[in-house]
């Protein structure tokens, strides 16, 4: 449904160009959940924001295409649309909706939540005000907010974190989007609330035949709801596969290290966690060749630092690592 090819979003700063997203290829399918996994600063949020064209200045899409294929209209390249153009605003909210990590930042603080949802509905759909209100209350009920008619009149600050997150999901879903982008939707929530929100997204996905692009750093969440997974490191996708292959046969050393470094329930106590050494390099001091080589246990001098690894197919996965290239495998 959405085809991202060679997407590059760069930030021109005084100190140099930060390549936040640097050549990303991704396919998003209807009724599937694609998880983008990565540590903070790897570019996953910027990538998602690029799809909706809401990257803040000085960030700019410098190359690549984001082709959106609606069922009923001709495909459009979102990357080529003028920001603020009518077509783009039409797609935003109606076809593609986004929910953010911090609901307070995307809900207006001085407008009742009911009104905020109604505004969105009125903007994109051809209904009367009364109908819009009915729909809004129905949505609030659907996302599991108790006493929706009362909460319709509530201001965002009157709701708890979990309820706010639900209100935002209700708003995002108000126009029955084809694609829902969720940027760390449950990171700020308690586990019990998180479980409910994840169930809710999964349920609505089925019901609306929606595609979901879920951005997270939590491996548990990925295993729970993901169908396809892409692992990002320093602006590039280093591995792409279905969720089973990623967890059972991770191919990239970075994916493997990530998997090993999280404590899991039921693990022996006091085992030392195999941590990834060092930290993510400064975005302006990107290592030559493979960006992960400075932290990689299987760094091969003369290969990994010479050139960047291409994406190659290995079993069910696509991986960008020289360990899997034919020349190295033969040696």
């Amino acid at each position: 449904m959405v085809e991202i090819r060679g997407l590059k979003t760069h930030f021109a700063t005084h100190d140099g160009v930060v390549k936040a997203v640097d050549g990303v290829d991704l396919d998003i399918y209807a009724n599937r959940t694609l998880c983008i996994l990565g540590e903070s600063g790897c570019g996953k949020s910027i990538m998602a924001r690029s799809v909706l064209r809401i990257v803040d200045a000085p960030g700019k899409i410098v190359d690549g295409s984001i082709v959106y294929r609606p069922d009923d209209r001709r495909p459009v390249d979102l990357a080529a649309l003028r920001p603020g153009s009518r077509q783009l605003r039409q797609i935003r909210g109606q076809d593609i909706a986004m929910i953010f990590q911090e609901p307070m930042s995307s809900l207006g603080p001085i407008t009742k939540i009911g009104k905020q949802i109604v505004e969105t509905i009125l903007l994109h759909r051809n209904v009367t005000k009364t109908e819009a209100k009915e729909q809004a209350i129905e949505l609030l009920d659907k996302v599991g907010i108790p006493r929706p008619a009362e909460r319709y009149e509530a201001y965002p600050f009157e709701l708890s974190g979990g309820m706010r997150q639900r209100a935002m999901i209700a708003m995002a879903l108000s126009c029955r989007p084809k694609l829902l982008i969720a940027d760390e939707p449950t990171t700020a929530l308690d586990v019990t609330t998180q479980a409910q929100i994840l169930d809710l997204i999964a349920e609505l996905k089925e019901e609306l035949n929606m595609a979901v692009l879920l951005i997270t750093h939590d491996l548990g969440v990925v295993a729970e709801v993901g169908e396809d997974v892409a692992v990002m490191y320093m602006g590039k996708i280093v591995e792409k596969a279905d969720v089973f292959s990623i967890f059972e046969r991770p191919q990239h050393p970075y994916t493997q290290a990530l998997m090993e470094s999280v404590p899991k329930l039921g693990m022996e106590r006091r085992q030392r966690l195999p941590a990834i050494r060092g930290m993510v390099p400064h975005p302006l001091a990107r290592p030559t060749g493979c960006a992960f080589r400075t932290r990689c246990d299987r760094f091969m001098p003369g290969t990994c630092d010479r050139s960047e690894p291409e994406m190659m197919t290995r079993d069910q996965s696509q991986v960008a690592c020289f360990l899997h290239s034919r020349e190295v495998a033969d040696v």
Binding site: E39, S40, G144, P146, S160, G161, G162, M163, D190, V191, T192, T193, Q194, A195, Q196, L198, D199, H217, D218, L219, G220, V221, V222, A223, E224, G226, V243, F244, F247, A257, L258, M259, S261, V262, P263, K264, L265, G266, M267, R269, R270, R272, L273, P274, A275, I276, R277, M279
Partner: protein, 327 residues
């Protein structure tokens, strides 16, 4: 069994809700409600719970940032008489704070951006031991090395560091006075997984090297299981279950503990969690009678709604539930 370093008995922290006639309090929020536990020397004692469960307030009472409404907190230090933290004077507290230190969640907010590393980490040494100049610099460099930072960082400001490095600075600051007990409030929650693993490993190494006792406050159950020896589960101000790590995680006895464990997503796509039942969020303030979890509890009976549950002992675990051991 090893000796007890801290024993808390009947601790209450109530906050009045104002707004009555002439600002008279109309009600109280029982943020910490009749909490008792003891911490053994050299163990890691975990406190888990959702936001609003009172775990941070409990930590702040222990540090005496807050003065509890009632209860006793006996701190048993090496070569010192026992101290009741609940009624320490200012001077005594200053002495206590040498042996009991805190590591905070947000390393960004807990380090003064206008101070250099030398001053941040060395402040307590300047104050307590009067160290200055070369001597101070040497001690601080030593501390930096202990937490895996380079001594060259001495003259830098906190903004030059990454999140993980800042958390290391926070730990170095806590270690400066050779404490016996460290209270870590969500110390790794804000960190990326790879950095989180580094900090957890560091905390374990330091514990072994310096015989430290940790009180580890967190909401991430996998992390708590990894690092803690005994764990207290808090719900709305009360400890609903207190047990050894193995007992708690393999045989949770309180329905709330079970609900928490069920909600954790497991990083294994073949073991997807069955759907959680929609538990209703607690409505409004909790009324005085009955079990606080009753409104969300799938097993609640009439007794739960009317009579406060007693603490029951089951297999060495303390469980605050009428039906402990039966369900």
């Amino acid at each position: 069994m090893s000796e007890t370093i801290l024993s808390v008995d009947g601790l209450n922290m109530h906050f009045p809700i104002g707004g009555g006639f002439f600002g008279k309090p109309v009600d109280v929020v029982r943020a910490v409600d009749n909490v008792s536990f003891s911490v053994r020397r050299r163990e890691t004692f975990g406190i888990v719970g959702e936001s609003g469960s009172g775990k941070t307030t409990l930590g702040r009472c222990l540090m005496r940032v807050l003065t509890p409404s009632s209860g006793r907190m006996m701190l048993n230090r090496r070569n010192r008489p026992e101290t009741n933290l609940a009624d320490c004077g200012k001077a005594e507290l200053r002495d206590v704070w040498k042996d009991m230190r805190m590591v905070f969640q947000d390393p960004q907010a807990s380090l003064n951006p206008r101070l250099r590393v030398l001053d941040i980490v060395g402040q307590s040494l300047q104050k307590t031991e009067g160290l200055r100049g070369r001597e101070l610099a040497d001690r601080v460099s030593g501390l930096l090395r202990k937490v895996g930072l380079r001594p060259e960082f001495l003259m830098r400001y906190p903004n030059a560091f990454s999140g993980g490095q800042r958390q290391r600075l926070g730990i170095a600051r806590a270690l400066a006075t050779n404490p016996e007990l460290i209270i870590a409030d969500e110390a790794v929650s804000a960190l990326d997984v790879s950095i989180q693993a580094q900090i957890l490993n560091l905390m374990q190494d330091l514990q072994d090297q310096y015989d430290l006792t940790y009180i580890f406050i967190a909401h991430d159950l996998a992390v708590v299981e990894h690092i803690c020896d005994r764990i207290a589960v808090m719900y709305l101000g009360q400890i609903v279950e207190l047990a050894d790590r193995q007992e708690l995680f393999s045989r949770p006895k309180h329905p709330y503990t079970r609900a928490l464990l069920d909600a954790v997503p497991v990083p294994d796509p073949r073991r997807r969690r069955r759907k959680v039942q929609q538990v209703k969020a607690p409505v409004g303030a909790v009324t005085g009678t009955g079990c606080r979890f009753a409104s969300r509890c799938p097993q609640a009976g009439d007794i739960c709604r009317n009579t406060p549950p007693p603490v029951r002992q089951v297999n060495g675990a303390n469980v605050l539930c009428h039906f402990a051991g039966q369900i």
